[in-house]
Symmetry: C2
DNA sequence: TTTAGTAAGTGTAAATTCAACATTAATAAA
DNA sequence: TTTATTAATGTTGAATTTACACTTACTAAA
């Protein structure tokens, strides 16, 4: 019968998180070296099981917090993966989430305890189960989202330079962008605050620092603007 | 422990399908009046439970087939819904899929047996559980997809007029489109075959019929073209 | 057979957006 | 004070998008 509630078909639900970070070397993801079975010693996404009294979004948040100590992070559900033998131990369906975090903010301590490490997208190791596929999927989605609305600010420190922002977008989209065109597009969105302060690390001249203006951004979002980079 | 496989937290996984169709009256969805508990007598999406030996995509296909008799239909996974009490009988996570079908092709018999009916998007009844939310979500996604690549052909009969195509897009995007601009954009994609045949229903003059050229379309898709309507 | 009516079919010009490109400005270090 | 280094800035041509209205082809009715 199509609509019977049968406990015979109950399954485990896992949540796996693709955690993106960004630094001078480009776009990175956070992976752990598993010190538990199955696949002990291999690399995987961070993940865990959904609890009976928990919704998926919260499970994702809990897992992210467990491994990084972070709160209030932008996460988005991606996809449910359900191949029969994707997990060799028990039938497990996994729902993936991706998160964008400022790589400077995570808790070093926790990362170390869990044998977690940041890897550049380009040279990440092979992952267990279908986690490679999840990562590819997440990268596609991130590119996509980025071309529609400017998420990605989550990946930068609070104050950032135009160059940092440009490099972030170049890393996400994995293509070069014209500096002048990029800056004028970003400026035309009017979602940044230009500070009086300069960052003197990068040059003699120094470059102005900006912050992200969340109110203006939220306002714009309602009108569904498109960022054509 | 974060990573233990505990059967205590196993849950039921449901699949719910948002089935879109299109006719002269606009965009429609297929709903059933439940003759089973819970919520007997109320309207809902068609759905069912994932079986232990089945992947989600196949469950969605199976469910669609059960209610419509159709095969080989474009379906896309949408989202996993996991509110604790979304289903009052047992903890159930539902993964939604949406499908586009040609409203003429479905099996009348089956539809009748299952008390299924087509409803215009605008005046669909209130649905059980979180199904209203699922529908809204699916409409957003459909609009979105449509603006990127021309799905939507699935919703038309094999031979169709430019006017029908235009009206389909207007229904999906729920805005008026300029006839001449629309036609020239569609033509520039070169994915239609213009037939010698005319449809004489709509006017004295008659309007040319077209078919969708699947090969050319697949070819184009590789280049990720954008349809800017 | 002529006429009237209806939707189909078609093109152009203005406005906007996009893409390409190079020079000057500010500063710290030598 | 000179030098070296990166930041900051604007313009022009090309491409795309939008707005817009008349003629054509045909059928049905007179």
């Amino acid at each position: 019968m199509l609509n019977s509630y049968s406990s015979a078909d109950k399954v485990l639900l896992a949540v796996d998180c693709i955690i993106f970070g960004f630094d001078h070397q480009g776009l990175k993801i956070l992976l752990i070296k598993r010190d538990f079975e199955p696949e002990r010693g291999k690399w995987s996404l961070i993940g865990g099981f959904l609890k009976r009294d928990e919704i998926l979004d919260n499970a994702a948040i809990r897992i992210l917090n467990t491994y990084t100590g972070l709160h209030d992070i932008y996460m988005e559900q991606l996809h449910a993966y359900s191949e029969i033998d994707r997990d060799p131990v028990d039938r497990t369906i996994s729902v993936s989430y991706y998160a964008l975090i400022n790589i400077e903010n995570h808790n070093e301590e926790l990362i170390k305890n869990y044998h977690a490490e940041w890897f550049s997208i380009a040279d990440a190791p092979n992952l267990i189960f279908d986690h490679n596929e999840m990562v590819q999927h997440a990268i596609r989605r991130l590119r996509y989202r980025t071309s529609i609305k400017p998420i990605g600010f989550e990946l930068l420190p609070e104050k950032f330079t135009m160059r940092q922002l440009l490099e972030l977008y170049e890393a996400i989209l994995s293509k070069e962008l014209d500096k002048r065109n990029f800056i004028s597009k970003i400026n035309s969105l009017e979602i940044l605050n230009k500070l009086d302060e300069k960052d003197m690390q990068s040059s003699r001249k120094g470059s102005y620092l900006y912050t992200f203006n969340k109110e203006k951004y939220e306002e714009k979002l309602l009108n569904d603007f498109v960022l054509n980079l």
